[in-house]
């Protein structure tokens, strides 16, 4: 067991692309955790999606053994935290497991929206923070300007910020020394009853559910019977260990230490992030503060493109749920799309990740319906319901009011795109709270309805700013709005999968966009097909797919029979990707495209 004074637990706080993963890898390499040969780029982001997107979804930790310049051997626990607002709660628990953070800022890019959100969380957790300016060897690096920016925007003293280049290996020892000398050692009582934090949990094909823990008091060891204080579940520990970064069993974990345990837990959801572990026989009095139940923020329906794949989808969402306790689902049936699942997510990135994993890891073609938020509907009879599927909307006559969630959005953008960014926010019903400049970069803070943000906001923001604007948000409150249910009717029948709640002021533009898109994608049939957008009985937009005028092969003789037959085979395959809706065939692309469209 390591004495507390030789332990440092730290997180790395950074914006995407500012080099967090590269720096982590460099620290691991420098302290001998892996040889150069064993290093593949970005050791910690182990999922394909994490590597490709350069984001961290699951928290992970690595124990670094470092012999400092003072001649002492230290244990440095690097906590790699998820870097996205969707996982804000998970981030807060990871930070709660550490005493300090290093704040990594790209010396050429400067402070970004995510940097802010994450650093404030670290400050909230009473962290000591060491600023690190990365990529100082880039020609565009401006360490002095970024130093000033850190002081002005964040309010942190950056005068002794560490300069480094993780990619080129410059200043790595300086970072390690700063961790040892400037971050505090953990506190704890080895003799007190066990008190440990569940930082995160994931499913491992060999080990089952692996729980990442930080011990505060007492000791955690194999064979011990432990209790999860929030869920009340009791488990016998099979193994405890640490990540070097390879998982390595240890006898026990003591105060200040970070490691893992396994205990024949079946589902990740059974190990709730933020829960407190204690000894079944000798329990601690008070659980650690800050526990929250998982709450879905964004919902959408997921349906297989080919209805025959429903059972595969069922198996796949079940498997994902094993590994991701924050993903929820229940069965749903749609007149247009058949059987599928209504799924709840922590946010938009989480939704995208789940969709991507379903198609990538389980090889499923999916149709996702319009993302929805939770609306609070006050009914005339005095009751309130939470609505997360427009299909379940009560009769408008029974509704007193509808409230929707609003967010506080922070956007950083180069000056030249500010006008477009403001227009986008205004178009999405935003109200400006703050506008300030840091050099040539503007920071705008907007109040925005979440339902305008789940609909294509991030894609639009990236496209109008050529990818330069950065965006972060947090949920603020619920506000009553003039919200209506808009339906899309194809051949006079409402397509349930396309109905959505929209603000009345936005309904016409949204409806027009959707019917135009549908018109492009529905092939001419032998009759004309009206496509309408409607609020209640009122049509607000209409397009018509004209009837097929002529479709007949001119020549058809001896050899053409085979050729035409092959064409029929192709059509049969194509039909699998169509949804029969009444007499109309709607290609699955239409469902996806109708929900992804330009604002203008």
């Amino acid at each position: 067991m390591t004495p507390l004074s030789r332990i440092r637990n730290f997180a790395i706080v950074a914006h995407i692309d500012h080099g967090k993963s590269t720096l982590s890898d460099r620290l691991i390499q420098e302290t001998g955790g892996l040889t150069a040969r064993e290093m593949t780029a970005q050791v910690l982001d182990s999922m394909d999606i994490e590597r490709e997107r350069g984001i961290t979804i699951k928290a992970q930790t690595v124990r670094l053994n470092y012999k400092a310049k003072d001649g002492e051997q230290y244990v440095l626990n690097l906590m790699d935290t998820p870097g996205h607002v969707d996982f804000a709660y998970e981030v807060s628990r990871s930070l709660a497991a550490c005493e300090g953070s290093i704040l990594v800022v790209d010396a050429s890019q400067g402070v970004e929206a995510q940097t802010l959100a994450n650093v404030y969380q670290a400050i909230d957790n009473n962290h000591e923070i060491v600023p690190v300016l990365n990529k100082i060897d880039l020609p565009a690096a401006e360490p002095e300007r970024v130093r000033t920016q850190i002081e002005e925007v964040i309010g942190l003293d950056a005068s002794d910020a560490v300069l480094c280049s993780a990619k080129s290996g410059i200043g790595i020892t300086d970072v390690l020394e700063a961790i040892v000398t400037r971050l505090p050692a953990p506190k704890g009582d080895e003799n007190a009853p066990l008190k440990a934090l569940v930082v995160d949990a994931w499913y491992d094909a060999y080990l089952g559910v692996v729980v990442l823990v930080r011990v505060f008091d007492g000791r955690l060891k194999a064979g011990q019977q432990v209790r999860m204080m929030q869920t009340g579940a009791s488990h016998r520990i099979d193994k405890v260990g640490v990540f070097l970064p390879k998982n390595t069993d240890v006898e026990s974990l003591g105060p200040g230490e970070i490691g893992f345990m396994t205990a024949s837990i079946k589902e990740v959801a059974d190990a709730a992030v933020g829960d407190t572990l204690t000894d079944e026989k000798r329990q601690t009095e008070k659980a650690l503060p800050g526990f929250k139940e998982v709450q879905s923020v964004v919902f959408c329906g997921l349906f297989p493109v080919d209805a025959a794949d429903f059972e595969d989808l069922r198996a796949a969402v079940g498997r994902l749920r094993l590994n991701d306790g924050s993903f929820n689902y229940e069965m749903e049936s749609s007149a247009a799309l058949g059987f599928g699942f209504r799924c709840g997510f922590l946010g938009l990135l989480h939704l995208e990740i789940i969709q991507e994993r379903l198609s990538r890891e389980f090889d499923l073609d999916l149709i996702a319906t319009a993302p929805s938020v939770i609306y609070k509907i006050a009914q005339i009879d005095g009751t309130t319901i939470d609505l997360h599927n427009p299909a379940d909307m009560p009769d408008p006559m029974k509704i007193e009011s509808i409230a929707e969630p609003w967010i506080k959005a922070t956007i950083f953008t180069p000056d030249e795109y500010l006008g477009a960014v403001i227009k986008l926010c205004q178009d999405r019903r935003g109200s400006q709270r703050e506008l300030s400049y840091v050099g040539t970069r503007a920071m705008v803070v907007y109040d925005l309805p979440l339902n305008e943000v789940v609909f294509d906001f991030y894609d639009r923001l990236k496209s109008i700013s050529k990818g330069y604007a950065s965006f972060d948000y947090q949920i603020e409150d619920y506000r009553i709005g003039d919200l209506v249910k808009m339906q899309v009717l194809v051949n006079a029948e409402p397509v349930d999968a396309l109905s959505m709640l929209v603000h009345r002021s936005r309904a016409e533009a949204r409806g027009r966009g959707m019917v135009e898109k549908m018109k492009e994608l529905i092939q001419p049939h032998m009759f004309q097909i009206p496509i309408q957008a409607a609020i209640g009985g009122k049509i607000i937009a209409r397009e018509t797919v004209r009837a097929l005028r002529k479709d007949v092969t001119a020549k058809c003789y001896g050899g053409d029979a085979s050729r035409k037959r092959k064409l029929l085979d192709k059509q049969k395959a194509g039909k699998k990707r169509m949804r029969q809706f009444g007499k109309v065939e709607i290609p699955q692309e239409a469902f996806i495209a109708a929900l992804k469209m330009d604002d203008d």
Binding site: D551, V552, K555, C556, G558, A561, L568
Partner: protein, 382 residues
């Protein structure tokens, strides 16, 4: 002597792939005619052997038609054509009145040999005049002008008992009025049969590439529809019945017996490079396709006696699909019994929409259904 009357019919298709010039819209199996007499003589001999070998598989058929198609079979030596026609007549019994069709280009040179072809046994000429407008013929890359086309038609009308004219419509800039006039002019050239085809962009042809490069635009569906309607009205007014999507005849006797074999699902033997056939062998409908290259075809015949490079036994569904695809194009339609293996889910809907009719157990496309026939077929078969 076998009783020809009670035997199932067979039609013979002979493919002559050589062309003096290859048209930019054509995707048939064709090669430039470079006057290689030796190769052409070898090909005639190979076709003869192929016919004999296939006749040995299905001897009990009544010969109803021989069709010399291409390519440009009017460039063939008339004596060779005579030999092949005579061979077919020897290989299968017939009741004497078989249809022998020759496809021809309307150049003066070819018209000069029409009498020789009539002597060779050709009873019906299918003349590819394509257009009676010089600019249109130039656009289509044809090696004759309108006057030459008219002269060839006049010669043919005298030389052969039966004459059919091929025309192409929906050319850039063509109006329904101009097309109606052209149709009336063509009908006055003495033909009993007219085949007007909408210009179709076949993948891989020079026209297909030209359109993709924006050189010209194909007719939009509205205009193509109007041109099709004008075709039906004009030819009907002149006494030509649309007995198939693109084939119009003055009276039943003027219908192409050969093409009816395709559309009725009768057996047909294909000989020559790339020729397709359908033979009922031991009760199994079998699709055959000959090797496409002239040398490959000759080599196949040398090695096996037949030119086939592919042979596929058609299952019940494939068989029914072919009957649907071919039969629904004609006025006769197709017997519902023959379509039993198909889903036919939308049959009632299509009937209710007056796109098809059921008459005496036969499914027939209405005029309204015929113009969208590919979709009707797809709805019935998928």
């Amino acid at each position: 002597m076998r009783q020809a009357e009670i035997l199932a019919p067979v039609a013979v298709y002979i493919h002559w792939p050589y062309c003096a010039r290859i048209c930019p819209y054509c995707d048939f199996n064709v090669v430039r005619d470079r006057g290689r007499k030796g190769e052409q003589a070898d090909l005639v001999a190979a076709i003869a052997r192929d016919l004999q070998a296939q006749a040995a598989l299905i001897p009990d058929r009544k010969l109803v038609s021989v069709f010399l198609g291409g390519g440009t079979p009017s460039l063939m030596d008339p004596a060779a054509a005579a030999d092949l026609v005579a061979l077919a007549r020897r290989l299968w019994p017939s009741d004497g009145e078989i249809e022998v069709t020759l496809e021809a280009n309307p150049t003066d040179a070819e018209a000069g040999r029409f009498d020789a072809f009539a002597q060779a046994g050709v009873t019906r000429l299918s003349l590819g005049v394509q257009s009676l407008d010089d600019a249109a013929l130039a656009f289509l890359g044809r090696n004759h002008d309108a006057a030459e086309g008219r002269r060839a038609a006049e010669v043919a009308a005298k030389a052969f008992p039966r004459l059919s004219l091929d025309l192409i419509y929906a050319l850039p800039g063509q109006t329904p009025e101009a097309w109606a006039t052209e149709l009336r002019t063509a009908a006055a050239l003495g033909a009993e049969h007219v085949s007007p085809y909408q210009l179709t962009l076949e993948p891989g042809t020079p026209f297909d590439r030209a359109v993709r490069r924006g050189r010209f635009a194909p007719a939009d569906p509205d205009l193509a529809g109007s041109l099709y309607d004008v075709t039906q009205e004009t030819l009907e007014g002149l006494g030509f019945e649309a007995y198939e999507v693109s084939n119009h005849a003055r009276g039943e006797a003027a219908r192409s017996r050969h093409n009816l074999a395709y559309w009725r699902g009768e057996d047909y033997v294909g000989a020559g490079p790339g020729a397709h056939g359908r033979l009922t062998l031991d009760g199994v409908r079998t699709a055959t396709e000959a090797a496409k290259g002239v040398r490959d075809y000759i080599a196949n015949v040398d090695a096996t006696g037949r030119g086939w490079s592919e042979r596929e036994a058609l299952g019940p569904v494939a068989r029914a699909e072919e009957r649907l695809i071919m039969g629904l194009r004609t006025l006769e339609g197709v017997a519902l019994d023959e379509l039993a293996p198909l889903p036919l889910h939308r049959l009632r809907d299509l009937e209710a929409a007056a796109l098809v009719r059921l008459i005496d157990g036969r499914l027939i496309a209405t005029a309204k259904g015929r113009v969208v026939l590919d979709r009707v077929i797809s709805e019935l078969a998928t």
